[in-house]
């Protein structure tokens, strides 16, 4: 994104007290082939993303599978090394600091995973899972760690008496609470929650969403909330970024995005997401996109969305629209924005 776009962000008040600043981050996964195992192509999972996350906000990141949202989340935490670009955390460039300094920084940035089954070690007791981060960072002596672990279990609504139990003895929702307690152990400032509720039942999803909201208030956390469920994103987020094929195609306040979506992809996504109200479902005009998401190995020229877009013009095939400020107050990457 060009400098003027960053200025536009500044006008939106994004720059004051930025916690995480993502600048032109690219993550390419090489595809090796041939006799010599040379790189024959790249999967462009994240292809030039600029994003600022303010202290205390919940930034929702939506998109369909394969759009690069999880990869972006991991690249921010340096769990995947970005191919290019910078990630600043409280002004410090995570892509340029020493491994040791990064390790210290990691205590401030934690992750909550989608699958509460595979993200917990089945051979560890719950107590050990939650206190492991404290041990890794030598926080306190063993009695203090034990106290902290019990405290964390209570905070996320688990009975500390269960500390000797193993993950398989818990339900999906309870396991997600264990994962949340572990993420909170080091008093982080920033949490990337990658689809934290999509593996849970409806009645349990609401419990976990409420818990995440309470914790944010209690510990002044900042979240990057990654999900494909638009209603859940709207419910938790102050701002929303919509991703398509490695690019952010729309970014703005939750209200602007949901009331006045500008990018055709956002419009289609909103119209495709089912609403639990038969009257709304009966009367709404649904935009059914044709075809599938193109391959990120060989993305379309110009706007990545043009092959599926009903408004596409010749220019969309040639020039990639920049992410710029639209009249409705959000940023969108489209030559012909609006409904």
């Amino acid at each position: 994104m060009a400098a003027e776009a960053i200025d536009q962000l500044a006008q939106l008040g994004v720059s004051n007290d930025t916690l995480v600043d993502v600048r032109d981050v690219k993550v390419y996964f090489p595809i090796r082939g041939g006799l010599l195992g040379r790189t024959v192509a790249n999967v462009k999972a994240v292809d030039g993303v600029d994003l600022q996350i303010k202290r205390g906000e919940v930034l929702g990141l939506v998109g369909e599978s394969g759009c690069g949202k999880s990869t972006l989340g991991r690249a921010i935490l340096q769990l995947i090394k970005p191919t290019a670009g910078h990630v600043f955390f409280e002004g410090q460039d995570l892509t340029r600091i020493s491994p040791n300094a990064l390790r210290q920084r990691r205590a401030d940035m934690q992750m909550i995973f989608q699958d509460p089954f595979s993200s917990l070690d089945p051979r560890f007791t719950v107590g050990r899972i939650i206190s492991e981060p404290l041990q890794n960072y030598s926080r306190g002596n063993s009695a203090e760690r034990d106290h902290r672990m019990r405290q964390l279990m209570e905070v996320v609504g688990l009975n500390p008496k269960w500390m000797q139990r193993y993950p398989h003895e818990f339900s999906g929702g309870q396991r997600q609470r264990i994962g949340i307690a572990r993420a909170l152990a080091l008093n982080p400032k920033f949490i990337v929650a990658d689809e934290p509720i999509s593996a849970l039942d409806v009645s349990i999803q609401a419990q976990v969403l409420n818990l995440l909201a309470d914790l944010r208030e209690q510990f002044s956390l900042t979240y990057l909330f990654i999900a494909h469920n638009l209603s859940a994103i709207k419910h938790v987020s102050t701002r929303v970024a919509v991703m398509y094929l490695g690019h952010i195609v729309e970014l703005g306040s939750s209200d602007a995005i949901y009331q006045n979506p500008q990018h055709p992809y956002t419009i289609a996504l909103l119209s495709a997401s089912p609403v639990p109200d038969p009257d709304v479902e009966l009367t709404r005009r649904r935009i059914i996109l044709t075809g599938d998401v193109p391959s990120p190995v060989n993305p379309p020229t110009g706007c990545p969305f043009h092959p599926r877009c009903w408004k596409a013009q010749p220019i969309c095939r040639e020039v990639r629209p920049p992410l710029e400020l639209k009249a409705t107050g959000q940023l969108a990457a489209c030559h012909f924005p609006g409904a």
Binding site: A206, L209, S231, V275, P276, E281, R286
Partner: protein
Amino acid sequence: MAEKLLDVQNLRTHFFTRSGVVKAVEDVSFSLEEGETLGVVGESGCGKSVTALSVMRLVDQPGKIVGGSILFRGQDVLEMDQGELHDLRGGKISMIFQDPMTSLNPVLTIGFQIAEAVKAHLKLDEKAAWNRAAEMLDRVRIPEARRRLDHYPHEFSGGMRQRVMIAIALSCNPQILVADEPTTALDVTIQAQVLELMKGLAQEFRTATMLITHDLGVVAGTCDRVNVMYAGRVVESAPTRTIFKTPAHPYTQALLQAIPRPDSLPGARLAAIGGQPPNLIDLPPGCPFAPRCRKAQPRCRQELPPLETKGPDQKAACFYPY
């Protein structure tokens, strides 16, 4: 009213496991009429899938249908011999599963897999069966259908595979289509494509559909009637609009309140349902929802409320509805 297409009465399917008897489906009754779309909603483990499998007698060891009756056009499915069952499955009633990757055979071409079903049920010869396969692929809007017949499942995307499953399921003109979470593994834009396709085809072929899902949004847009299941039982049954506008059972109400809606206020607290669904081996006496119910009275913990008529065309199993 004409004869019911499918009439299930007091169905009970239990699983005999080492740790005890799991009453997966307990006293479930419902019926389907021609062209109707019935939604079955509930959380994981509530018995929706086992109900569907029972209808086709596909329940495997250690599970067993221990009671009730399943009448398909007046004929009892539970009394059918192997030959009759063969005609029923895939011919008169066909099924679409959640995961299109594991339900297609990876080493056979798509054409072979559709033609296989057609040959078995419509008694067509090889050539006619492949023509039918091409026609079906075209119907589910897969471009260049004839060329795609020679492709293998891995050459299709998730949404296309699910459309292939629909093509197989509808290739023999079934009277009932059982769709078990057909769009859960798909992205929203692809989900919209598949649901639209299913709706269109069901109307065209007058197929009755039993749509199993946990997504109330999907139900609102596609179903005529809804059965809400909890802990192996139907706790509420009503037309879709009634379920959403005036739900009678506290569980239905709680489910509707627990989901964030696109038009709800951001940041508002969701009305979560406390606790966990009960263990089906060791069900509490009385109403299975009572331990999580906000309105539960002493009576609810002792007596099981029967599924009774509470309003016009609305049945619920609750002593204190609305």
